[in-house]
Point group: C2
Chain length 226, copies 2
């Protein structure tokens, strides 16, 4: 990332590695004061905004190497909750120390800007998914996203376990549970993947990619206003 070994050490010295957390544990809750950024080392975390009546909107799933909490810098309060989906190891980074360090290390500052900017870009992707894609395009996009992120971390891109429930997937993608379930069945029938409960094996990545781009039925975006 363009940091000198010295800088890396300084950065490393402020990172705290915590004992493992377990399924259901909260990293933080909406409204909590913001002090730390969190980085998933192993396992997975979901972020979500709870609503009064027990419902929720899932905002994202966070896999190893991914950072959580950037949205809280603004208000100095967490505006979502973060809950561990399976036994996970999470690092915490005190943001005030990181900020301080970043004004001494220009390349760290630059990385921070990039990190925040990337988060915006990812939200934009999600926004397009929700505004324009149909149910099957959404699920295909989701699966390939998980796949790609796992591959980047050295895990299998075609054989993995989903740590979240169908309900959570549907909530995240703006779909009903039943729709997600039906799509998994259909994808399997169509030979795109093999699914058995939370165990997913992607079979036809090419066709899934085509789906994501909405190029399944001859040519991109048959709806003219897309």
């Amino acid at each position: 990332m363009g940091l000198s070994p010295d800088d890396v050490e300084r950065l490393d010295s402020i990172v705290k590695r915590n004992r493992p957390l377990h399924r259901g544990d909260h990293l933080f809750r909406e409204g909590d004061g913001f002090r730390f950024l969190y980085v998933v080392t192993t396992g997975s975390v979901k972020t979500y905004t709870p609503s009064e009546d027990g419902g929720e909107q899932v905002l994202g799933f966070h896999l190893p190497g991914e950072i959580i909490g950037l949205d809280a810098i603004q208000s100095e309060r967490h505006c979502c909750s973060a809950r561990v989906l399976e036994t996970s190891a999470i690092c915490e980074i005190p943001f005030d120390r990181l900020e301080e360090l970043s004004s001494f290390i220009p390349s760290l500052q630059h990385q921070m800007y990039r990190l925040l900017s990337r988060e915006i870009g990812q939200d934009t992707e999600m926004l397009m998914l929700l505004a324009k894609k149909n149910a099957e395009e959404r699920l295909a996009t989701f699966l390939l996203s998980i796949s790609g992120r796992l591959r980047k971390r050295g895990f299998s891109a075609t054989d993995f376990y989903l740590s979240m429930s169908r309900h959570e997937i549907g909530n995240y993608l703006g779909l009903a549970v039943e729709t997600v379930s039906r799509l998994f069945t259909r994808f399997q029938d169509d030979g795109l993947l093999h699914v058995e409960r939370k165990h997913i094996q992607l079979i036809d990545l090419v066709r899934l990619e085509a789906m994501v781009n909405g190029t399944v039925n001859g040519g991109p975006n048959h709806r003219h206003w897309k």
Copy 2:
């Protein structure tokens, strides 16, 4: 913002004020190299991602005081296009100069982090709108968003002109033009607002607020999974 008069002057010295731009002019296009952040002084701008076939996804409308281009820091390329909706004055800020300045002025650095973080929070709001709200909730949310942002800048919160077309509103909200049109008519029939082409007068802000929270038909979120 916690900047000394001296700092403000330094910041001011790198900001360039450009001649007015006109309806249809581009600030930048997707793929352009990233050099500047833009701040709307007067007028309005839309950002959008064009797709091969001439379609587009509108990502946002930007009113006076709002900043454009933060999503491009990451890749050093603009990943959306920005087009002026009406005669507008736009400032440009060279990002490399701003970045440099921010490592000398901690409070500026802090503001930058907050600014980026706020953008993430706003995207999250939009994400929830698209994932969970129905058509009327979306349009009500949109109108109150515009209203609130205008008020913050000293304009009327209840009487304004929309600089974007129905088509663009629909595209932004994930709705068809016809749906937007029908909703405007219905809102007017219900005494929520008065609409005549692009001229909007909000009449019943209370009822609009209630709509945004989905509390129209007795209690929040009648759909259990929300």
